[in-house]
Chain length 256, copies 2
C-alpha cells in the first residue's frame, strides 16, 4: 500500500528551467511526483488561460533514471494545472508546488506571476498549493540554499493542510545557506512598478517598445515580505483569491 | 479652461469589439476620452504582461467624426494601461474604464479576466478604475440596456473617488432595460469552473485539447454577485489587489 502523497509540480519558466529541476529533486524525496509544466517560458503570464487556441500535452523524459512522469504543455501555468488535474493525474494531487521561479514574486509581483497563478489555480480546485521563488533572475541561479526551505514548508503544508481559499507565496533571498536567517510569515508589501518604456525603431522603420521599469516600495512595514527578504529571511505570504474588498462594501452601500 | 475628466478606455476583446464601442459612446458624454486597447482579442489573459516580446502601438481612426484619439496595442490589457499612462496620455487619467466585456466576469472569473486586469493595473497606478461586463458572450450582444448603468456608476466614481487599492467589478445581466432591477453591492461568489477538456486528433495525427468547462456555484449567499445577477440586478463588487489572507497570518505563525 502506498501512503506517499501525490505531488503535482509545475512552474512558469518552462520544464527545462533549473528552478523546476531543483524543485523536482526535493519533491521526489517527499512523495510521488507528477510534473506538468509549460514547454516554453511563461513569465508574466498572470492568471492567463488558453481559450482561443489548442493545447498540446506531451510526455517527456528529461531524466532517464526518473521514476516519476513528466509532461509538457503548450499552454500557460494555469492551463498546466487544469490539464494535470483533469486529464493526467491518476487522482487528485495532495499538494501542488510551483517554481522554483527564477526571480522574485514578492509584493505586487504576485499579480503578474505565472508561478503563483499555477498555485492559485490549484487552490481554486481545492488542492493545497505553494509557489516558490528565488530572488535571482539568472538562468544559472544557485538553488541549493533554497532546497532546505522548500522541503520544510512543503512537509508542513502536507502535515497541517491549508484552509480552503488560501495558498502560500514563498520567496527566498539570494544568499548563501548560512546567511538565510529562517522564515517569516508576512503580508504583501504595498509596492508597484514604475514603468519606463524603451522606445526603439525596427529595421522597417516602425516604432516599438520594450516594457521596462523600476520596482518602487514605499511600504516600510516590518510585517511585509519585502522587509523580511531585505533582512535575509524567507518570506511566506498566505494568498487568497477572494478579491472582494469586504471592508469597503458598507461604504459603497451609502452611495446614491 | 477644461474641467472635463480625462477618461482612459480599454478592454480585452480588442478595439473593434462592439462592447468597447458602446463604452466609448457613453464616455464621450462624460469627459475627454483616450482609447488604448488591444489590436486582437485577449480574453482569458488574466493579469499577463509582455516581458519577452516587443510592443507595437498605433493610432487608429475607427470613427471619422470622433474628437478623441484611439490607439491599438499589440499587447495585453495590462500592457495597454501601462503604455497609456506612461507614453500616450497627456496627463494621469482621472478614471480608467474597461469593457464592456462580451461575457461575465463575476465570481472567480475576475481572476482570469483581461477586462478586470486592465482595471486592476490602473488601480495599482493610483487611478480609480471600473471593469464593466455584460452577461452575453455573443459578438452582436445588445449593449443598449447597459449604458444607463455604465454612465451612472462612472459618474459616481468620478464624484466620490475610490480608496487606494480598490477598483470596481461591474457585471450586467442580459436583460431588456425594463427588467433590470437596479444595482447591488456584492461580494465575489465562491464558485469555480469544473473543467472538461475536449480531446481531439489533429490532421497530422497528434492529440490536442480544447479547454471547456462548466461553471459551478455552490455559494448561495444573497450577498454575492451571482445571486444579484440571477435576480436581475447589476452587481458591483469592490476588488482589491492586496491578496494577503490577513486572517490566516496568526495561525501560520503557530506552525513550527
Amino acid at each position: 500500500m502506498n501512503n506517499r502523497p501525490l505531488i503535482l509540480v509545475t512552474n512558469d519558466d518552462g520544464i527545462t528551467a533549473p528552478g523546476i529541476r531543483a524543485l523536482i529533486e526535493v519533491m521526489i524525496t517527499i512523495g510521488d511526483v507528477i510534473v506538468v509544466a509549460p514547454n516554453s517560458p511563461q513569465s508574466g503570464m498572470g492568471h492567463a488561460i488558453t481559450l482561443n487556441d489548442t493545447l498540446y500535452c506531451d510526455t517527456v523524459n528529461l531524466d532517464p533514471k526518473a521514476v516519476h512522469k513528466e509532461y509538457t504543455c503548450s499552454g500557460t501555468p494555469a492551463d498546466c494545472v487544469k490539464l494535470a488535474t483533469q486529464q493526467i493525474a491518476p487522482r487528485k494531487p495532495d499538494i501542488c508546488v510551483s517554481g522554483i521561479n527564477h526571480g522574485s514574486n514578492s509584493s505586487i509581483n504576485v499579480i503578474y506571476s505565472g508561478t503563483m497563478s499555477a498555485a492559485v489555480e490549484a487552490g481554486i480546485e481545492g488542492i493545497p498549493a505553494i509557489g516558490f521563488s528565488l530572488l535571482d533572475y539568472s538562468h544559472d541561479a544557485n538553488f541549493e540554499p533554497s532546497k532546505k526551505y522548500v522541503d520544510k514548508i512543503t512537509r508542513q503544508v502536507l502535515k497541517n493542510g491549508l484552509p480552503k481559499g488560501i495558498v502560500l507565496n514563498v520567496n527566498i533571498p539570494k544568499l548563501p545557506s548560512k546567511e538565510i536567517k529562517g522564515t517569516k510569515i508576512c503580508r504583501q508589501a504595498k509596492a508597484q512598478w514604475v514603468e519606463d518604456f524603451d522606445k526603439r525603431i525596427n529595421p522597417m522603420g516602425r516604432e516599438y517598445y520594450w516594457l521596462t521599469g523600476e520596482f518602487l516600495n514605499q511600504d516600510k512595514g516590518k510585517d511585509t515580505d519585502e522587509w523580511a527578504l531585505s533582512q535575509g529571511y524567507v518570506s511566506i505570504v498566505p494568498v487568497q483569491f477572494d478579491l472582494t474588498a469586504h471592508q469597503f462594501i458598507n461604504e459603497l452601500n451609502t452611495w446614491e
